[in-house]
Structures are given as structure tokens and as C-alpha cells.
């Protein structure tokens, strides 16, 4: 009972992600995959994502700066990033990746680099917002995670 305000806080936080369109429906689906057998599934996936995305972003940045620019390498990395962000439902990041990739494919290097910076910013924001969220979730206890309301994002 003591965790009730905490839960409310968490719920509000979570809702804000959707309101700000940082996350989309895919995230709720991810949440549905979490159950007793797999209590920290969402967090695990997100951590994996952050690890991956950090490496990928670094890779892209590096590849963009090297003098004979490795177009396919950047494209491949962006593709991976796109898949990852789509999988976790990171809406804004995915949009940025898409934009960057399209510009990159068009050969608009300047545009792509600018978009890439936005991407990085979005990813950082995501990270910054989600990390405290998960922290609080952990505090609230595993039960809460398992009982994520299903109807919260319906309609």
C-alpha cells in the first residue's frame, strides 16, 4: 500500500512517454510479453537496446567522419538501428533513424549528419527518460511489473 503513490507516479511517467510520442504501441506489446517467467523482460530488452544503439551510433559517427566514406557500412548500421528502435517501440528514435537513412541514401551528407545528431539527441533523451522509469519500477517491486494493466493503451 505504501507503494501506491509510487505506482501512480510510474503510471503517469509511462503515460507521458506515450503522450510525448517517445514510445508507441510496440512498447505495450513488449510489456505484454513480460510475465512471471520473464519478470524483467522489458528492462532486459531496453538495456540490450541501449547497449546496441550506443555501439551502433558510435560506429555510424565514425564511419561518417572517415575520409573515404563507407556508405554501405553506415547504411547497414542505420538499418540495424532502425530495426532495434522499431522493436522496442522507440517512436521518435525510429523516425529520426528513418530520416537519417533516407537522407543518407539520397547522398545528402550534410542533411544526414544533421539528422544523425538529432537521432543521437533523441536516443539520449530516451535513455535519460527510461532509465529513471525502470529504476522506479524496480523499486515498486516485481509484482507491479507483472501486473501491467493491459487496457492502458487501448483506443
Amino acid at each position: 500500500m505504501e507503494s501506491k503513490p509510487l505506482r501512480q507516479q510510474i503510471s503517469a511517467m509511462r503515460q507521458s512517454f506515450f503522450d510525448e510520442e517517445i514510445l508507441d504501441e510496440q512498447f505495450t506489446q513488449l510489456e505484454q510479453l513480460q510475465d512471471r517467467e520473464n519478470p524483467n523482460f522489458v528492462e532486459e530488452v531496453l538495456n540490450l537496446y541501449f547497449r546496441d544503439s550506443t555501439t551502433l551510433i558510435a560506429k555510424v559517427e565514425q564511419a561518417m567522419e572517415t575520409v573515404p566514406i563507407d556508405f554501405p557500412k553506415v547504411d547497414k548500421s542505420l538499418h540495424q538501428l532502425k530495426g532495434s528502435s522499431a522493436s522496442i517501440g522507440a517512436n521518435k528514435v525510429r523516425n529520426e533513424v528513418t530520416k537519417t537513412r533516407e537522407l543518407w541514401q539520397e547522398g545528402n551528407l550534410g542533411g544526414a549528419k544533421a539528422a544523425f545528431q538529432d537521432l543521437r539527441k533523441e536516443n539520449d533523451t530516451l535513455k535519460a527518460k527510461l532509465e529513471p522509469y525502470f529504476q522506479q519500477l524496480r523499486q515498486a517491486g516485481p509484482d507491479e511489473a507483472a501486473m501491467r494493466p493491459r487496457r492502458s493503451h487501448n483506443g
Binding site: 506489446q29 513488449l30 510479453l33 532486459e44 530488452v45 540490450l48 530495426g83 532495434s84 522493436s87 522496442i88
Partner: protein, 976 residues
């Protein structure tokens, strides 16, 4: 002969037949064969006609010969007869002389008597020109004889040597005969030959021979023809010997010589005589007659006739003049040359001509056949080319459409994003317009793609279970906005006899309905659009019955085109029922009826032709490509149905089509259908057993409303006006929970209606019934409701649909708002059933994706193994393995999904091949045929179309991240 010909012809015709079959078989060989046959035909008939000619002309010649022979023989016989008559007479004369000259002494005959007698009996001897009698005088008797006669015996020889002219002839000038052993001087002679008197017959060479032969043989003897004395004509002398006494017939020649008294000679002037004879015969001018003495074979002496020998036809008849020593013959020839054998010529030429004509016909026929066959080949070639071109066109269309679609998605996405940015009103408007156009373009491309697919025969219908009513509800909801804006009433009515669940292709069915309704919406500005679904069987029964329905009895009161007209042309309309009465196929007949402007009569024939619209102005005012109906027709065809329409300008059109589905309640899919039923029933269960009253004066509209309300399990009663309404309330012992009133009725009499409503509340036994207004247009009804001042009134917007109706009722009645189950509920439940315990491999190079996908599948109870590289997947999927399925990312570094799939399939094939040979099934886990289902995972659904995946050896694709429904659809194909 004709028999022969017939044989020949029939054998030829047999050959022709025989050959014709050969011809079909081997064309080239038989072409030369034909020519040979034709050549031999012509040669054969030429020979035949020549033979016929010869045969006929020889027949003619034969006939001619016969004629000649008979004529010749006739002449010869006559000549012979007459000669014999003459000879007999001369013989008779010889007897006369022997009797009267030698038998009497003195003689009773002298020269004068003889001459007179012979002259007067000349008619008896038609062939003789003169008769003379010479007496035998021995040398010893010469002097006495000369003295007695008063002249000397003269000789003939010199006479013959110096022939003299008749006029100059003077016997006195002749020399006296030299001394001979005996003489035969002529003592009596006919006047005509009186010049031979006193001439010794033995002195003439011919005469002497004749005389000697005559007395030796005792018969008539003839000389060879020679020139006669004085007349110098060709003649023959017949000589008879006159004996002193009668001699026995077997007397020796010597006895005869001894007994000889004299010699009687007759001169035959053959030439004139034969001439005279021939004169008497008919057709003398036809033939030429020659009479010859052929005693000496090598030198025949001509006795009559010109000797101009003609090579032509000749007949020889032998003449017997009673002298065995002499031989005579008659040779006859035709005067004219034989005429041309015209009959033979014409016959043979005729036959030849006929044969040639037949040959020509034959030849022409063969040529014609060859030509036609060549043409046919050419046509086939052209047809193939045309078909190839058509396929190429369709493929081109498909490719281009596909290629356009991909970038178009980018454009649309960007536009969508652009709309989210900070735009002013004008900019937003531009973006909206651009997006709307883009969507139209994509829709068009999809249609073109469909058309291309249909034309290239690639379109195949799905066989899934679906709820027809739900499909129609969805379609209705699509158009409801449009219809409400324009005030057109939309309605759907499905007969109760149509089963809940059908198996077929709901997507394509929906496409047809959408096309038809879309058209109707486009062209309808007032009135209604009504979709009705019936079983064909029902409608057939109603064809005869439902004749009284007036045109006024329609949904909106506007007249409509009679839909029954639209299916008149359906071919197997009546057969369908009798064809499948026992199978579980469901024949539906669906009509879309509108009260639009109709199709002009002249355009009705090309309604189903692609890209054909009524006129160019139509596409300007209403848009569209004109491809929709063509696609619909094709789709209906694929559903084994037919489509037809009837349209009356200014009144409306009704399109009707039939489609064959399978009943969805078959055993295999029972579980699933139960699921769905549960879901749909969940809406309606809360109203079950309630009673409703519909007030609507229009039966058709009431029927539609009733259909929808009944779907919710509500018992429905229909009344047509307020009076009935009230009466049904007052008599009703069952509570009526709701009253649904058509807005039209309501508006017509606002006062009375509100009064009645108030009354209702009073009469009612328990809770007052809720009153609903069925309204077509939301805006108008709202204003009216407010003005009417009745608060207990809920407006249900049309078109009626199960969901909206249920929602409205729920809201108004307050029945347990339990909340609808999530849409995902059904597939996730079923997915769990399907995937529980399955071993599934997921291959993706993206760790996050991998984890999410694995998590999703694990959630459904699957046993998931993950791999990040294509190589790993190949190793894991090398048979024998225990995987039930594999989900594979397409874009992976090193080896992409397609390549990995290709290698896996290769491996499987090899092993299947080995197994097939070795039959060592146990070692491979008793799996007889390895084929692990591989599903592509892709974020880009458009790019990775189903076909592409299938082509690359995959079994399907799922979008990434997983979408429960799609996942279910794909997975359920493999796991049952």
C-alpha cells in the same frame, strides 16, 4: 470398263482418305506424296483415255469391215448367180444346137434362125453380149465344108496382132486359115457378133485353149479376160462343147473329144455387165468393186473396175463361175476414207477432261488445306506472340506498379510526418491535398496491379473462414461518412438463411462490394443504396412469387431498377441449385441497388471493359479509372459466380452478382468458428431476450432494421404507424424494452409523436421503454430532437451496423458495459494453441529484434532458439533436427535470409533424395520429407511481398515487429 473406272476411282478415294490421315500426321513427307499421287492420277487417266479411244475406233473399224464384207459378198453372190443363169442358158442352147443342127439332116437351123433366136432369148442371158457356134471340122472335111458353106475358113491370129477399129473391121480381109488337123469355124453367130462367122476358133490362142478344155471336160469353160474382137472390150468367153451323143458323166476326155460336134461360145462383156448389175444395187456409190481373174496368182487380171489400188480397207469375195480351172475374185473397197471416229474422240477427251478436273480439284483442295494449315500455324504463332505480349504487358504493369508503390509509400510517410510539424493553414491544406492525391494514386496502382495480376492469371483466392456480416459491416462503415454527408441512406440486409461463417476470400469479396458500393455512392445524390445478400435458392423461389412488389416499395421510397432483371442473363442460375444440393457449397446472390443517375443505355454494353467509363466527363466529375468493375467481374468469375446489372437512366442501377462459398461450419474449423462466434456473441448476449418495436411504414426499410436488431438477439415486432404501435403496447403482455422509430415518421408529425411518447410512459407496466430514433443524417436529427423537447430519446445514426447499434443501445440502456474484449484476444489465444511447445528458430542479426521476437514467441509457449547469422541457421537446420519452423530476417550481413534459405532448401533436397534411395528413414527421425517452414521477417512489408518470398523458397512472411493477427495467419498454415 465403267466398272473398272469405278474401282479405280473408289480405290483412289480410299487412298485420298488414307492419305489425308497421313497428311495430318506428317506434313512434309505427304506433300511430295501428294504430288506423286496427282501426277500418277493424271498419267493414269491419260493412258486410260487413249486406250478408250483406241478401243472405240477399232470397234468402228470392225463394224465398217463387216459392212464392207457383207456388201461385197452380196455383190459377188449376185454376180455369180446371174453368171450361172447365163451359163445354164448357154448350155441349154448347146443342147438345142445338138438337137436341131446335128440331130436333123438337113439342119433345122441356119445363120438367120440362130441369130433371130439368140437375139430374142438374149434377156435370158443377162451377162452375155453375144453367142456364137463353131463346128468341129476335120481337115479331111474342110473342102467339102467350105464348099457347102460358100466361104473359106479364116484364121484369127493376124487379127489379134493388128487390132483394127470396129468400123474398119471386115472379115473378108482375113486370111484363110492355114492347114490344120482340124478347125472350128464359126457358123452361127448372134448379130452382135456376126463378124466372127467363118473364123476358126482354134486359131485364136485363148479360144483354142478354151475349146480344147471345153470338149475335154464337157463343162462350161472360161477364158482369161482379153480384148474382144472388133469391140475391143474386155471380155470373157464361155465355151461349151456340143457332143454327137449323150455321154455318161464319167466319160473319159478322149471319148469326149471323139464325140465332139462343135462348140458354143458366149461372150461375157464383164465390164458393162458388172456395171449393169451394180446399178441395180443400193448404195452402189459407197463402195468400189473390182473383179479380177486370179488364175495366175502373181498376175491377176482385172476384169472390172479401176485398178487404182487404195491402201484402205478391202474385202475379197471369191467368185465361182463353174469353171474349176479359173479362179475369180471380187475386191471391194469403200469409196470414201473412213470418217473420223468422233464418238471415240469425244468420249476419251471427255473422260480426260473429267479426270483432269478431278485432279485439279484434288490439287486445289490439297493446296487449300495446306494453305489453311499454314495460316493456322501462322495464326497460332501470332496468337502466341499476342499472348506473350499480353503477359509482358501485365508483368510490366505489375512491375511498374510495384516500383511506384515503394517510393509512394515514402512520399506518403513523409507527407504524414510533414503534417505533424508546425504548419500554417495553407501549408496544411497543401499537404493534405498532396496526401489525398498520393493515397488515390496508391489506390489506383493497387487496382492496376490487381488487374495485371488477374490478367496474368496470378491472382488466387484465399480459402479462409470469415463472417460475411462483419465484412459488410466494415464496408458499410467505410461509406457511412460519405453517405451521411450527402443524405443518402445506406443499408445492408442479409438473409437469415445465409450461414454465419463462410469459407472464401473475404478480402476479395470486400473488394467487389466496395467497388460496387463505391460506384453507387459516386452516382447517387439522393435516395438510398441497398445491399442485399440471399441464397440463390431463396431468390429462385421468389422469382415467381414476388411479382406484386411495386416500384414504390423501396428503402427510401425512390423508384429503383428491378434487380430481378439484372440476373436474368445468368447462365447457370437454375442449374446451380440442382448441381450442388448435397455439397456444402453456399451460392450467394448479392445485389447492390441504388437510386443514382443510372448508366446511359449506349454505355451499358461496355461497363465491364477495363478503363471504359461512360464518358470522358464522368472521370472529371467523379474520378476513378473505370477499372473497378472489370476487376470485380474477374473476381466474381474467380468465385465461380456471374455479375450482371440493370440500369435505368435517372432511376438507378442494380448490380447483382453470385458467388460460391463453402459453408464455414465444417468439422475441421469448428474450433476456430466457435471462437469467433463467442466474440461476436459477446456483443449481443447482453440484449438477448429483449423485445423491440420498430415503427416504420416502409416494409423494406423495416426489414433491414429488423435484420440488424435481430442480430443482437432482440425479438422484433414491426408496426407501421402510431396507432398500431399503441395497440401493440396495450395488448402486449410481454414488456417491450425499446421502440425504434424512423426519423421520417417522427418528423412528419412531431406533436403527435411526442404525445405518444408521453403516453407510452404512462401505459407501461414496469420500466418505460427506451425510444430510439433511427436517423440517416446526424445533424438534422439532433436539431429536431432538441426542438421536440423529448429528453428520453436517443438517436441511432444510420447506416445500421451491429457494432454501432449495440453501442448506442448499450449507452442508452446502460446494460453491463463490460467492455469489449481486445481485438488481439482471438489471435493470441489461438496462437498459444498453435505455438505451444513448438521448437522455433529465430535468425536475426539485430540483438534487440532477436530478443523481442523470441520474447513474443515464447509468450505463446514456443520453445525458441535464436541465431544471429545465416551460417548458424544453416548448421542448426541441417537435418536431422527438431525445429518446427524458422523465422528469418532477410537483411543480414554476410549471408542474407534468401541465401540462407536457398542453402537450407538445397540441403533438404539432397537429404530427401538420399532418403528416397536408401529408405533409411529411422536415421532421420522418421521424417520422410524434410521441409522446415521458413518465414521471412521483414519490417518492409511492401518490399517483401509474398510472391518474392515464395520464389526464394520461403513459405511466407511476417512483419516485424510481430503483429498477432498476421502471425496467426501465417503460422496457422503450417501447424494444425
Amino acid at each position: 470398263m465403267w466398272f473398272k473406272c469405278w474401282d479405280k476411282i473408289s480405290s483412289y478415294s480410299f487412298k485420298i482418305h488414307h492419305h489425308y490421315y497421313q497428311y495430318i500426321g506428317s506434313k512434309r513427307v505427304s506433300k511430295t506424296w501428294w504430288r506423286k499421287l496427282l501426277f500418277s492420277w493424271v498419267i493414269g487417266w491419260t493412258v486410260a483415255s487413249i486406250w478408250i479411244f483406241c478401243y472405240m475406233s477399232s470397234q468402228a473399224t470392225e463394224k465398217r469391215k463387216e459392212t464392207l464384207a457383207s456388201m461385197c459378198d452380196e455383190r459377188a453372190r449376185m454376180l455369180q448367180d446371174q453368171f450361172n443363169v447365163s451359163m445354164n442358158h448357154i448350155q441349154a442352147m448347146s443342147i438345142l444346137i445338138s438337137t436341131f443342127h446335128h440331130g436333123k439332116n438337113p439342119s433345122a437351123i441356119d445363120q438367120r434362125t440362130f441369130a433371130k433366136y439368140t437375139e430374142r432369148t438374149a434377156f435370158e442371158r443377162p451377162l452375155t453380149s453375144g453367142v456364137a457356134y463353131a463346128v468341129r471340122v476335120l481337115h479331111s472335111e474342110r473342102e467339102q465344108f467350105e464348099k457347102q458353106q460358100g466361104w473359106t475358113i479364116k484364121r484369127m491370129d493376124t487379127l489379134e496382132q493388128n487390132p483394127v477399129h470396129k468400123d474398119d473391121y471386115n472379115p473378108d480381109l482375113l486370111e484363110p486359115s492355114p492347114i490344120q488337123e482340124e478347125y472350128a469355124p464359126v457358123i452361127f453367130a448372134q448379130d452382135i457378133v456376126s463378124h466372127v462367122v467363118s473364123i476358126d476358133m482354134l486359131s485364136g490362142k485363148e479360144d483354142r485353149e478354151n475349146v480344147l478344155r471345153a470338149r475335154k471336160s464337157g463343162k462350161g469353160v472360161l477364158t482369161a479376160p482379153f480384148r474382144l474382137l472388133k469391140t475391143n472390150c474386155l471380155g470373157v468367153i464361155l465355151t461349151f462343147a456340143v457332143y454327137k451323143r449323150d455321154l455318161p458323166s464319167n466319160a473319159t476326155p478322149n471319148e469326149r473329144i471323139q464325140a465332139t460336134d462343135g462348140y458354143l461360145g458366149g461372150v461375157f462383156d464383164i465390164e458393162s455387165l458388172v456395171e449393169k448389175l451394180l446399178q441395180q444395187l443400193a448404195s452402189k456409190q459407197k463402195i468400189v468393186v473390182n473383179v479380177l481373174d486370179t488364175t495366175n496368182q502373181s498376175y491377176p487380171i482385172s476384169m472390172y473396175g479401176s485398178n487404182s489400188s487404195d491402201d484402205g480397207l478391202e474385202h475379197v469375195s471369191y467368185l465361182n463361175f463353174g469353171d474349176p480351172f479359173r479362179k475369180h475374185e471380187m475386191r471391194c473397197r469403200f469409196k470414201q476414207k473412213p470418217p473420223w471416229p468422233w464418238l471415240a474422240i469425244t468420249t476419251s477427251i471427255g473422260i480426260l477432261v473429267i479426270a483432269l478436273l478431278v485432279g485439279h480439284i484434288f490439287h486445289a483442295t490439297v493446296n487449300r488445306i495446306a494453305k489453311v494449315e499454314d495460316d493456322c500455324h501462322k495464326m497460332m504463332e501470332l496468337k502466341k506472340q499476342a499472348e506473350a505480349a499480353d503477359v509482358a504487358k501485365s508483368q510490366f504493369l505489375a512491375t511498374v506498379s510495384h516500383e511506384i508503390r515503394t517510393p509512394m509509400n515514402g512520399v506518403l510517410g513523409m507527407l504524414h510526418m510533414l503534417m505533424d510539424t508546425d504548419l500554417d493553414v495553407t501549408q496544411l491544406d497543401y499537404v493534405r491535398t498532396a496526401q489525398a492525391s498520393g493515397k488515390d494514386l496508391v489506390a489506383l496502382i493497387n487496382e492496376v496491379l490487381d488487374q495485371a495480376k488477374i490478367e496474368s492469371g496470378k491472382l488466387e483466392l484465399e480459402e479462409v473462414q470469415f463472417d460475411l456480416r462483419a465484412v459488410l459491416d466494415v464496408v458499410l462503415s467505410l461509406f457511412s461518412g460519405k453517405s451521411q454527408d450527402e443524405g443518402v441512406e445506406l443499408a445492408v440486409y442479409i438473409s437469415d438463411q445465409v450461414p454465419e461463417m463462410l469459407i472464401g476470400d473475404p478480402g476479395r469479396f470486400r473488394q467487389i462490394i466496395t467497388n460496387l458500393m463505391g460506384n453507387s455512392i459516386k452516382f447517387t445524390e439522393k435516395g438510398h443504396i441497398l445491399v442485399t445478400v440471399h441464397l440463390v435458392e431463396e431468390v429462385i423461389d421468389s422469382i415467381e412469387v414476388e411479382t406484386e412488389s411495386s416500384s414504390k416499395n423501396t428503402l427510401s421510397g425512390f423508384p429503383v431498377a428491378d434487380r430481378r432483371q439484372s440476373w436474368k442473363g445468368f447462365r447457370n442460375f437454375s442449374q446451380e441449385v440442382s448441381l450442388h444440393p448435397f455439397s456444402d457449397s453456399i451460392n450467394l446472390i448479392i445485389s447492390v441497388e441504388d437510386t443514382g443517375e443510372g448508366i446511359p443505355l449506349e454505355a451499358q454494353s461496355r461497363v465491364f471493359t477495363p478503363f471504359m467509363q461512360v464518358g470522358p466527363s464522368i472521370s472529371r466529375t467523379h474520378g476513378g479509372t473505370g477499372i473497378g468493375l472489370s476487376i470485380s467481374k474477374c473476381l466474381v468469375g474467380l468465385m465461380k459466380g456471374e455479375i450482371g446489372f440493370v440500369s435505368i437512366p435517372k432511376i438507378g442501377s442494380t448490380f447483382t452478382f453470385t458467388a460460391v462459398f463453402t459453408s464455414g461450419c465444417s468439422s475441421s474449423k469448428e474450433y476456430k468458428s466457435q471462437q469467433i462466434n463467442n466474440q461476436s456473441n459477446s456483443i449481443s448476449s447482453e440484449f438477448h431476450g429483449m423485445r423491440a418495436l420498430i415503427m416504420d411504414p416502409r416494409p423494406v426499410r423495416a426489414k433491414v432494421s429488423r435484420y440488424h436488431i435481430q442480430r443482437l438477439g432482440i425479438h422484433v415486432e414491426v408496426v407501421s404507424d402510431w396507432k398500431q404501435c399503441l395497440s401493440s403496447f396495450s395488448r402486449g403482455n410481454n414488456a417491450i424494452h425499446m421502440v425504434l422509430i424512423e426519423q421520417e415518421v417522427w418528423d412528419r408529425d412531431l406533436n403527435s409523436s411526442s404525445l405518444v411518447i408521453n403516453n407510452l410512459e404512462k401505459i407501461d407496466h414496469g420500466t418505460p421503454p427506451k425510444v430510439f430514433l433511427l436517423s440517416n443524417s446526424i445533424n438534422s436529427s439532433r436539431t429536431n430532437t432538441t426542438t421536440s423537447g423529448v429528453c428520453n430519446l436517443t438517436v441511432i445514426p444510420k447506416p445500421l451496423r451491429a457494432s454501432t447499434l449495440a453501442a448506442s443501445l448499450q449507452r442508452a440502456m446502460g446494460v453491463g458495459n463490460k467492455g469489449n474484449p481486445r481485438n488481439g484476444e482471438l489471435p493470441s489465444l489461438s496462437l498459444r494453441n498453435i505455438l505451444l511447445g513448438r521448437k522455433i528458430l529465430i535468425v536475426d542479426d539485430n540483438n534487440v529484434n532477436l530478443k523481442v521476437a523470441a520474447g513474443a514467441l515464447k509468450k505463446y509457449g514456443a520453445n525458441v532458439v535464436t541465431a544471429t547469422r545465416g551460417i548458424e541457421a544453416i548448421e542448426l537446420l541441417t537435418p536431422p533436427h527438431e525445429f518446427d519452423a524458422c523465422f528469418m530476417d532477410i537483411q543480414m550481413p554476410e549471408m542474407d535470409g534468401f541465401e540462407a534459405t536457398r542453402r537450407i532448401r538445397e540441403m533438404e533436397q539432397n537429404i530427401n533424395g538420399i532418403q528416397f534411395r536408401n529408405l533409411s528413414v529411422e536415421t532421420y527421425n522418421s521424417v520422410s520429407n524434410w521441409h522446415v517452414p521458413i518465414l521471412a521477417m521483414t519490417a518492409d512489408v511492401i518490399q517483401a511481398t509474398h510472391e518474392e518470398c515464395l520464389r526464394r523458397g520461403m513459405d511466407g512472411y511476417v512483419s516485424k515487429p510481430f503483429e498477432a493477427e498476421q502471425l496467426y495467419r501465417e503460422v496457422s498454415r503450417f501447424f494444425q
